[in-house]
């Protein structure tokens, strides 16, 4: 630790892998310190995660027959969540655009909240894909040079590439920003702004490619619509900002500082538009489905009204429609800026509404009725719910830790801990360590 001669603390430390390693160590250490609320939160999430991990292990051992998927409905809750989470990841970019394209300074300061969300959401979505595989042990078949990635023909291979790319871009940006701040340097725009712009384009691409997964299938009329990708984006730009608005408020509580009113205002303004665009697209799809009628609309009829007495999805979708409409109403009312309850309710409702719509409401009707017009319904099994809850819990664990690391560095806490790195004898009065209360 004392291999460097004592220098003045203001001299910025140069980059080295060693100090980067120490940065990671310090960050991890920092992220695990916290108050009671924090520990209770983490322990609960960990418990849920363990249940999910166990359920997945059992599913891999005994076969996917433990899920309620079938040859008729061959994708279910996992792929539904995957789709939604890709949207959530893409939605994180709605902080990046105002911050970097419109130079919103206040947004700029906390844009990392959105970037970290993107990282956590992508990790979750990849985990959902892995949990959906019948043979996770053969995952390496996707990885060149030993595997055989069917690029560029298979849309799924595109998705694998863009999702991992997005993960790396965001991880790089966040690591760079945090590390330079930790070193006491000013981030050099040359080293990250190009990547920020890349991430904006990339965010659009991940959700577009994910939509192409479905709308490229000619045998499934419900998905085979050009509106799918734009609808994906519109809804992503509701769910992403909704989550971030809630996250900002929790973080404010946790670090005991008030910030982010301006960004919240911006995000609400974004949501006001995107939620209406989303509703408009729903209406135009519903119109096309029902006004023309015919066999290719039976999935739509199944979704909204049930088909030949099969109504499994009807409560889901109307619940979603209701939630989104109420959320839109709340977001448009002026009190959304003055009353945090209105704002928070709107965000929660919109988030859940889109989760249903972009999840179960999108995936399942693609399979009902089947391509040979058989009707087999699907309701997730207990195992599927457990795995799903487990992945969400892990995602929240990761996001909490990420945010704690970032907060520690931005509030100059981790930085102080790291000082031994250049100062062999740190001043004793430095560490009122961390006191994030939740």
């Amino acid at each position: 630790m004392s291999d460097l001669p004592p220098t003045s603390p203001v001299v910025p430390r140069p980059f080295s892998w060693r100090s980067f390693g120490r940065f990671l160590g310090n960050a991890a250490l920092e992220s695990l310190d916290g108050g009671k609320v924090f520990y209770v939160w983490m322990i609960c999430l960990s418990a849920v995660f363990l249940v999910g991990a166990n359920a997945w292990a059992v599913q891999v051992r005994d076969g996917m027959a433990l899920t309620n998927m079938s040859d008729h409905v061959s994708w279910g809750l996992y792929i539904a969540n995957f789709t939604f989470l890709v949207g959530l990841a893409a939605g994180g970019v709605m902080m990046v655009i105002p911050a970097y394209l419109y130079h919103d300074e206040e947004m700029h300061d906390i844009v990392i909240i959105g970037e970290l969300l993107a990282i956590a959401a992508i990790i979750m979505s990849l985990m959902f894909v892995v949990c959906d595989l019948g043979r996770p042990d053969r995952f390496w078949h996707l990885l060149p040079p030993f595997g055989r990635l069917n690029f560029p023909v298979s849309m799924l291979s595109w998705d694998v590439i863009v999702l991992n790319g997005y993960l790396f871009i965001n991880a790089y940006i966040c690591a760079y920003l945090l590390y330079t701040r930790y070193l006491g340097l000013t981030p050099n725009p040359r080293w990250y702004v190009p990547f920020v712009f890349l991430s904006i384009i990339w965010a659009i691409s991940i959700h577009t490619v994910t939509a192409f997964l479905y709308c490229g299938l000619g045998g499934r009329p419900f998905w085979n619509t050009a509106l799918l990708a734009p609808r994906f984006l519109a809804s992503a730009f509701v769910s992403g900002p909704a989550f971030i608005v809630l996250a900002i408020q929790v973080i404010r509580q946790a670090v005991g500082r008030h910030f982010g009113d301006g960004p919240i205002r911006t995000l609400v303004n974004i949501m006001r538009i995107t939620i209406l665009v989303n509703l408009l697209m729903v209406v135009s799809e519903v119109f096309t489905e029902f006004y023309t009628g015919g066999a290719h609309t039976s999935s739509g009829r199944y979704l909204y009204f049930g088909l030949h007495g099969h109504t499994e999805l009807v409560p889901w979708i109307w619940c979603s429609v209701g939630l989104v409409i109420v959320a839109a109403g709340l977001l448009l009312s002026p009190s959304v800026f003055t009353n945090p309850w209105v704002l928070n309710t709107a965000c929660v409702l919109a988030f859940i509404g889109i989760w249903i719509e972009k999840g179960m409401g999108l995936i399942i009707p693609g399979f009902v009725p089947s391509t040979l017009h058989e009707i087999v319904e699907y309701r997730p099994s207990a195992i599927e719910w457990k795995v799903t809850a487990g992945i969400w819990a892990l995602g929240l664990i990761l996001y909490t830790l990420f945010i704690k690391i970032a907060a520690g560095i931005f509030l100059n806490r981790t930085k102080l801990q790291a000082l031994p790195d250049i100062q062999p004898a740190p001043a004793p009065a430095e560490t009122p360590s961390i006191s994030a209360t939740s």
């Binding site: 160590g25 310090n26 991890a28 250490l29 992220s31 695990l32 983490m42 322990i43 999430l45 960990s46 363990l50 249940v51 991990a53 166990n54 997945w56 292990a57 891999v60 051992r61 076969g63 996917m64 027959a65 998927m69 079938s70 040859d71 061959s74 994708w75 894909v129 959906d132 595989l133 019948g134 043979r135 042990d137 053969r138 995952f139 078949h141 595997g147 055989r148 990635l149 069917n150 298979s154 799924l156 291979s157 694998v160 490229g216 299938l217 000619g218 045998g219 499934r220 066999a295 039976s298 391509t371 040979l372 017009h373 058989e374 664990i397 990761l398 830790l401 801990q417 031994p420 004793p428």
Partner: protein, 326 residues
């Protein structure tokens, strides 16, 4: 505290923290924290290990050779032989049956086609039954590559069809339409597979390498004819019912978690025999043959009967045809 996902991180943090903490600890609380973290990390790791213990049981059944097996197209003849013998041994160990797994290759100048006479098919489902036995399908689920639809006379609308009919056949107001893989000329199932685990052979048969498929089921979503089946669980077949004449790309017992499909019985048809479903059909509704041979029966049918293909509008050019007697 115990967070289990990032156990690795916790480990790092713990050790680092120990060092950093000692240097500047001025009270017991830092070290108590460190101790608590250590305990938490240990407990968390132990709990995690227990939670995923079923994975170890499962992994014990996958040999290193199986795990590392290359894609079918990358196997040399020698490698392939080793694989075939290994699979035979695995079948013996798992199911107690002596089987022979071969790998007949497509023949030059052959492109298989199948035609089905809807005027005579009586819906007896003998073909589906024969498929079930020939292809070593899972017994409890009564799996088969063929689904027979009971259709209302007067319409071709499949929405009015029914696969679960249980009245004696044939009913006077119905006709019957078996559906199986149409061996599309432009198979979407092949296009979507992310790992090239499924492809179209030169003789027109779309096959799956059951040892390469990762079980994503994208192909099942892409197929417009509901022709693909997933092994939701390990197939169960009593030893004495196992068909011992097996092909690597066709009817060998499929591993759990992988995709399977009709292969026109390539282990038979590439050796000059007819598909099992055709042999089982009591009405002679099925015609199978080489589309490239102008003198074949199937060519005669295509040239002389009123032929149609299912969902022609999708443009996938199936090599499975339906026809009516004129």
């Amino acid at each position: 505290m115990s967070s289990n996902g990032p156990t690795g991180k916790e480990g790092n943090g713990g050790t680092d923290g120990g060092g950093g903490g000692c240097g500047k600890s001025d009270c017991g609380c830092v070290s108590r924290r460190t101790v608590m973290k250590g305990v938490g990390a240990t407990l968390g790791t132990a709990a995690f290990a227990r939670a995923i213990a079923p994975l170890t049981e499962w992994a014990a059944n996958i040999s290193a050779d199986e795990f590392l097996q290359r894609h079918y197209k990358e196997l040399s003849l020698v490698d392939l032989n080793i694989v075939l013998r290994r699979l035979e041994k695995e079948t013996k160990d798992d199911y107690g049956a002596e089987v022979t797994i071969s790998d007949p290759k497509p023949q030059e100048g052959v492109k298989f086609g199948y035609a089905l006479n809807l005027s005579v098919c009586n819906g007896c489902r003998k073909c589906a039954e024969a498929c079930h036995i020939e292809n070593n399908h899972d017994r409890p689920s009564h799996q088969s590559y063929i689904r027979v639809f009971e259709m209302q006379k007067g319409t071709m609308d499949m929405e009015q069809g029914n696969v679960n009919y249980d009245k004696p056949v044939p009913q006077p107001d119905k006709f019957y339409m078996p559906v199986q893989c149409q061996q599309c000329e432009h198979p979407p199932c092949v296009d979507v597979c992310p790992v090239e685990a499924t492809w179209k052979e030169p003789d027109g048969i779309v096959v799956v390498d059951y040892n390469w498929c990762i079980g994503c089921r994208y192909c099942e979503a892409a197929c417009p004819y509901h022709a693909r089946r997933f092994n939701w669980t390990k197939p169960e077949i009593p030893k004495e019912e196992i068909n011992p004449d097996q092909g690597y790309l066709s009817n060998r017992i499929r591993p759990q978690g992988t995709m399977e499909k009709c292969t026109f019985c390539l282990h038979r048809t590439r050796n000059g025999r007819l598909p099992a479903c055709l042999e089982a059909c009591p009405t002679g509704a099925r015609v199978f043959g080489n589309l490239l041979d102008p003198k074949s029966e199937i060519r005669w049918v295509l040239e002389h009967k009123r032929v149609f293909i299912l969902k022609e509008d999708l443009g996938l050019k199936p090599q499975f045809f339906y026809f009516f007697d004129s």
